[in-house]
């Protein structure tokens, strides 16, 4: 599991989560390296979201171990995850709609003055600075985020993840709610973050999204890991076969491939 002798940034080993007898995640092992984008794909109910929730601290696994830089770590809460530099952008964005952009960006990690009062100016300043980089058109720093467009809300969620020096970024369907222009913008941003050395786990329904961006792709089906492949060594069809049939490319028969196109 080592690359160039170094430990992977994150390894999740033999993760299991079950809800009342249903195995949502059933013995899955994946790893992520520095500056890498790992695509995590699978159909509805494949267990992708549950798996990454164990990494972001939103869901406790029944068993399994998470390693950061090769060291086993305990992640029980979102705070634990953030302590290890693991930031998550949820599909729902997880924004408090009634609070403005700086308030959301620093939610749970507010900047305070010496007396423990919130330092709104400093937070707005930091938000303006990061937005100048991520989305220069963003100007609405005082309005509740409910009044922002989908793309602007997405920017806030991304800014929140990036601002705190994330080393590991989990993005759950980052482009699902966006128009074409905004999608391109987010894709560009993902590449930029990768170049900065951040490890990214990208979850998406959109196989083209993943195929464009990811270095490696892990496929899940019914709670189990079908396999992890290097993008350069597979075709989109082969990935689709993994998602739908649950077979690795070398196990596929020509009849099955024909079926896919049926």
């Amino acid at each position: 599991m080592t690359v160039n002798g170094a430990s992977p940034l994150v390894e999740m080993r033999d993760m299991r989560v079950s809800f009342g007898g249903v195995h949502a995640v059933d013995g899955v092992t994946i790893d992520l390296r520095q500056g890498e984008i790992l695509g995590l794909v699978g159909g509805n109910g494949a267990g992708k979201s549950t798996l990454i929730k164990t990494l972001s601290g939103a869901q406790r696994p029944d068993s399994g171990t998470i390693f950061v830089d090769g060291e086993p770590v305990d992640i029980h809460t979102p705070i634990d995850a953030k302590r290890w530099g693991i930031e998550t952008i949820y599909q729902t964005l997880a924004l408090a709609d009634n609070i403005d952009a700086p308030g959301n960006m620093f939610l749970g990690r507010e900047l305070t003055t010496g007396f423990g009062n919130m330092d709104d100016s400093a937070m707005e300043d930091a938000t303006r600075k990061i937005m100048a980089r991520l989305n220069p058109k963003f100007q609405n720093f005082k309005a509740p985020v409910a009044s922002l467009s989908g793309g602007q809300r997405q920017s806030v969620a991304i800014a929140r993840a990036v601002h705190f020096n994330a080393r590991i970024l989990i993005m759950d369907e980052p482009t699902a709610a966006l128009g074409p222009a905004e999608t391109d913008q987010v894709r560009e941003l993902i590449r930029q973050l990768k170049d900065e050395g951040i490890g990214i786990i990208l979850i998406s329904h959109d196989i083209h999204d993943v195929f464009d961006l990811a270095d490696r792709i892990s496929v899940m089906l019914q709670g189990k890991l079908v396999g992890t492949v290097n993008k350069g060594e597979v075709t989109i069809d082969e990935i689709l076969a993994m998602i739908i049939i649950g077979k690795m490319p070398d196990e596929l028969t020509t009849a099955e491939i024909a079926d896919l196109h049926g």
């Binding site: 939610l107 423990g116 100016s121 300043d125 009044s147 922002l148």
Partner: protein, 449 residues
Amino acid sequence: MAVTEESTTTSEGALTPEVPEGGDPTGLRGRVKRTFAALEIDTRMFGMIFGLVVIWIGFHIWTGGTFITPRNLWFLTVQTSIVAIMATGMVLIIVSRNIDLSVGSMLGFIGMFMALLQAEWLPALIGFDQWYTWILVLIAGLILGAILGLIQGAVVAYLGVPSFIVTLGGLLIWRGLSWVMARGRTIAPMDVSFQLLGGGARGSVGGTVSWIIGAVASVAIVSFLVIRRRNRLKFGFRVRPFWADVVLMVLGPALVLGAVWFLNQYYLPIGLAEQYVEEHGLDIPPEELEVPFGIANPVLIALGTALVMTFIATRRRFGRYVYAIGGNPEAAKLSGIRTKRLVMLTFMLMGILVGLAAAVQIARLNSATAGLGTLQELYVIAAAVIGGTSLSGGVGTVFGAVLGALFMQSLQSGMVLVGIETATQDVIIGVVLVAAVAVDVAYRRRQAR
């Protein structure tokens, strides 16, 4: 949605105020809107103040000039204070998507406890009317309030019982316990120092101190505006136009000092004036004596409470988290906020405020009865809701709730002055409550579009 981005990005320069879109930019409405935007006055809040002014003037005319008088408004402020104290806490409860139906009964229970403590239990130990009795009683009452609130909050947060049910239970439990504790007796009188918490001639600060308080408040308003402006300029953020800040710096202190001036014209009535002349060995006829009551203690307590609660709600993390929970509980949890603990603490805070309100109430009545605080929960919730707190959570301000309390009390005391019977008063207040929320809902729907 895309329009929002468009319109704000086109506003040029750092010093231009953000203008809310929608509305005719050239007509009178557009101009009024822009003026408000520059002053950063919430149009909703303005609507409420406007409504308040309308009913004040309406009652003034209807009563033939007895409503807007120093005496009547002085009493109005005192009567508002008890509901206002509790409404400041109810806002946070409702903002976090909960409700507290128990505050009236809890006020009765804590009030009865404090009454018994100072009239029966403590005197048995330390004798009557020690100078420190009132402090012991008040602290005990606040602690009891904290405990009761903590119990209810813990059941809501950790056992997951809906707050509606928990506090409905509390409504019955605290009322029943209050009766059990005193067997339905009326406990009186209160400790002489404790009585001062309730207002009256001795429980008011007098003319000079009122002026000092007004002056301090004015200085505070101006410094707040100056510091805020400087701070925002330091970061290069947009600030209000200079004229707008100047207007606020004049308007704020003018309102405060005007209120002090007006209320200070409520002088001691003849009986108390005679006493005053005698005590101070003055050589003027009592009917010519013009000694103002000044701001009543309960009003100072309510104003202080509102200030502290506003500070907690807007400047502290605690407040920010309460709003976050109300806006999106899931997001709050994912941000690492300990939502359960926080909800429990809001109920504890509510309990403390109920304890404070109970102290003022029994001091004012100089007694505690079995029915103390009955139906107060409804007035407190109504004040918060009329003041713009949304029952679906996430929205509401402490200042709005205080205004709401004042609004309701104005309505009620106006109707008393006019001579409307109690039953009809209830009908009218009920209608106003529903109408106020209907207007608010319609307004918000327009804003959201």
